[in-house]
Amino acid sequence: MSVLPTNYLTPSGREEAWRFTPLKRIAGLHDPSTTVADRISIELIGNARPGFSISKVKAADLPAKSSTDDAVIQRVRAGVAEVTHLQISQEAVVTEPIVLARKAGNGGEFSRTVITAGAHSKATVIVENAGEATIGEEIELRLEAGSNLTFISLQEWSANSVHLGRHHAIVGRDATFNSITVTIGGSLVRLLPTVEYSDQGGSAELLGLYFATDGQHLEHRVHVDHGIPNAKSRVTYKGVLAGDQARTVWIGDVFIRGNAEGTDTYELNKNLLLTDGARADSVPNLEIETGEIVGAGHASTTGRFDDEQLFYLMSRGIPMADARRLVIRGFFTEIINKIGNEVIEERLMSRIDAQLEKVGA
């Protein structure tokens, strides 16, 4: 059992950062009076290979490099004794993806992982989250100069799972960070995909896909902090909602600080509502302190299924259910295709099909 800090405030639900989240459903992960196990459930799948290493280190020896005001993440940091450290060696090019999977058990769990992409390395890391879990986690991704890291996080949790996490990238000089966040399973998932830059020339692309059905609450709070000149960011999140009380929240905060001249950023969120009784909140925020930038923009759309698309497909003999499936697969294709792994792509599409079938949409 971990020692809990007492010097921070427990969210009440009235705070801006928590106002969308049903705190009753997060199993007390935010509340110091609940106990949470210190356990490491994340494991490397397959054998160790050249180009990277994975180790467990004392939390005190590998403190987080970034700051956070998120109450749950602060608890995670305080409560974890050991940190999983995945290190990709300098100049290593790891061709096959490095797959980490979680085998979470019953009861709450706090977890910290640090992924370091050594200078001029190139690798893809996939984190697979499946099964049942109640977890608070932080993954810090440190991209050293010239590194290229693709980070894919798959939330395929079972129906009762609760997952609150922060996936924070620190993008170094001329480094390229690509992330794909897929959230399909879980009762309540609240993720903070966040980015900061530690030097110039960095580039970050954050792609996300979520699909909420009956009663699921899936929340993504993107934050890109442009505090360094000449960095680039692109954010594209797409969501589908179907069924009673399906709920999604997307917050896209982009902050361009006064010194971040030459910033180039664009963020987009698109939601597709398939049935009544579902609700999507979409809040893009762009805060700009300098006009000396390449570009900054955002767009957000939330709409119903396009009946004209259905009519067009059906007029070619395609039955309604197949036509809907085609359109939804098409909606997600742009993101799924970038995973670059056919087995995973097909598995996710099947899961999406199953979700559709479940709600009869």
């Binding site: 009519f311 007029s315 070619r316 003999g317 197949d322 098409g330 294709t333």
Partner: protein
Amino acid sequence: MSQLVIKNLQVGVETESGMTEILRGVDLTINSGEVHAIMGPNGSGKSTLAYSIAGHPKYTITGGSVTLDGADVLEMSVDERAKAGIFLAMQYPVEVPGVSVANFLRTAATALRGEAPKVRTWVSEVKEAMSKLAMDPAFSERSVNEGFSGGEKKRHEILQMELLKPKIAVLDETDSGLDVDALRIVSEGVNRVKSEQNLGIMLITHYTRILRYIKPDFVHVFAGGKIVEEGGPELAERLEEKGYAEYVKA
């Protein structure tokens, strides 16, 4: 031999002020191998006729009947109409992002034929049909209608018609927005499918231009939601000279 029979078809759309009548009793019979040109001014209800036959949910049938070889078309869902052999080439084909042309065509062919076409023969079938319409093979990897030029969209419609082998095709202003070269290619495609598959065609158009490439057997003048005059190809020539003024006034 197939026959599409439209009898006293009345169609409306639901608006805030109630049902607005658009088609006021259309009678028309189209047999395999026949080309029927439906000509009329804008707003006369030509497109409503096309969409009503295909089953667009926006339109409410308030009277009359449509049968294909005796089967009640109006009772069928949209996909069932396609399976029965009706094809609508749309004036404004709809974009379906993320769905490739190849995937779309194969899904449609699978639905219509009742089984997935054999991969090898299917691929060559599609390639051949595309080359006849002067379409780049790379086309099949693009998303359905997304970013297509006007000419590409219309060729894509005729490509579908060629591959899906309907009995009766409704071509809704297929000529609109086409330059002369594209019009020629699209028209040749229509004529080819007609002669190879003995297709019956309802050719809806505002202009006589396309009739130089696709010879109509019958010309029907459409105004005020119904057919107001019928004749042979010579009627189109008269419309070319005099326009629709005499029908609009009435």
